[in-house]
């Protein structure tokens, strides 16, 4: 009894109204803390992209006599890319619903579709990059093109990393089943994937649509 009272006096107990510094209920469970930490990472990633957007907006007219946005970008390709990434994000959500109900077949099918639509997006982007570099509009041509390849390439690198992560998650779910820690990783992946789509909305608006206004 006396030890309990001492512990309470210095605030080391969860009993009563003593403040543990972690709220009255103690720390949250891992299923809350892990995705929340990942959410903070996503937000810091958004800050990284905001710096790339800022440098792009600053350098967009610094074409050094080379091709400008109106000559380079093709809206039809961008529309297909946008649809591919949006449907990928949607199907990823369906996979999360299936995973929550521990439906192995549906989860794997939806995740596979997520990956395939992601691959379509990446393929079109690489085709566009290859075409531009072939026309002599590579990243070393002008400050505008350097910032363009940095911004859009960084998003593409994120998508590539996401696809590798997606493949790993499919294998882990297949091999280890719907364990608590696997579900947490899958949830983090879905947050990552949806966030990439949000960044793409900013890219297709600021870079491609505003860049090709008459």
């Amino acid at each position: 009894m006396s030890t309990h009272a001492e512990a309470a006096a210095v605030g080391l107990t969860h009993q009563g109204s003593e403040d543990t510094g972690l709220g009255h209920r103690g720390p949250e469970s891992k299923s809350i803390v892990v995705p929340y930490g990942f959410w903070l990472f996503i937000l810091s990633d958004m800050v990284l992209f905001s710096a790339l957007f800022a440098s792009y907006a600053t350098l967009v007219h610094a074409t050094d006599g080379g091709p400008d946005t109106n000559q380079l970008f093709d809206r039809k390709l961008v529309a297909v890319e946008t649809l591919a990434l949006l449907s990928s994000s949607f199907v990823c959500g369906l996979a999360m619903i299936a995973a929550k109900r521990k439906n192995m077949q549906l989860t794997q099918v939806w995740l596979l579709l997520t990956g395939l639509t992601g691959l379509v997006f990446l393929g079109i982007e690489l085709f566009e990059f290859g075409k531009m570099i072939g026309e002599g509009a590579g990243p070393q041509r002008s400050a505008f093109l350097s910032s363009f390849f940095t911004l859009v390439g960084c998003h593409g690198a994120h998508v590539t990393a996401g696809l590798l992560w997606l493949g790993t998650m499919m294998a882990q779910i297949w091999a280890k089943g719907f364990r608590q820690d696997i579900i947490r990783r899958l949830l983090c992946f879905s947050v990552f994937w949806h966030a990439l789509d949000i960044i793409w909305v900013a890219i297709f608006t600021i870079v491609y649509l505003i860049g090709t206004l008459p």
Binding site: G93, L94, M96, I206, L209
Partner: protein, 129 residues
């Protein structure tokens, strides 16, 4: 003991909840709204009937609306009491993103302006030495 169940008080970002129907409905509504906003964006950018100088601003507004749709229907960031931490973190992130972008664009435009031909005022100041 329900007081000790953390799920009652906080949800993780991106986590679907409730029943199968409402969860699926959330993604379907999100997809529909996102497609609608994307379609409007491409239409606004292609049509010549709108007032030219306002188009870029309109496109940015549409993009922000679509980001909101993604946040609410795909990432399930809501204004509910179980989401306070996620929303606060998001608000801080948006603040930093806003500061970095607007700050850079304003400062660089200003410096670019000053790097051009020196203005009358600047010439006069230099003459006074």
């Amino acid at each position: 003991m329900t007081e000790h169940d953390p799920e009652l008080h906080n949800v993780a970002p991106g986590e679907p909840h409730d029943s199968l129907l409402t969860e699926t409905l959330s993604y379907v509504i999100g997809l529909g709204l996102a497609l609608l906003l994307t379609g409007i964006s491409f239409w606004v950018a292609s049509t010549g009937t709108l007032w030219g100088p306002g188009v870029a601003t309109g496109l940015v507004v549409l993009a922000i609306a679509q980001m909101g749709v993604h946040l609410v229907f795909f990432l399930h960031i809501t204004s509910g009491p179980d989401n306070t931490n996620n929303v606060l973190a998001l608000a801080f992130g948006v603040l930093i993103v806003f500061l970095v972008m607007v700050g850079t664009i304003v400062i660089m435009a200003q410096m670019n302006h000053n790097m051009g031909a020196p203005s009358e005022e600047l010439m006069n100041l230099q003459m006074q030495h």
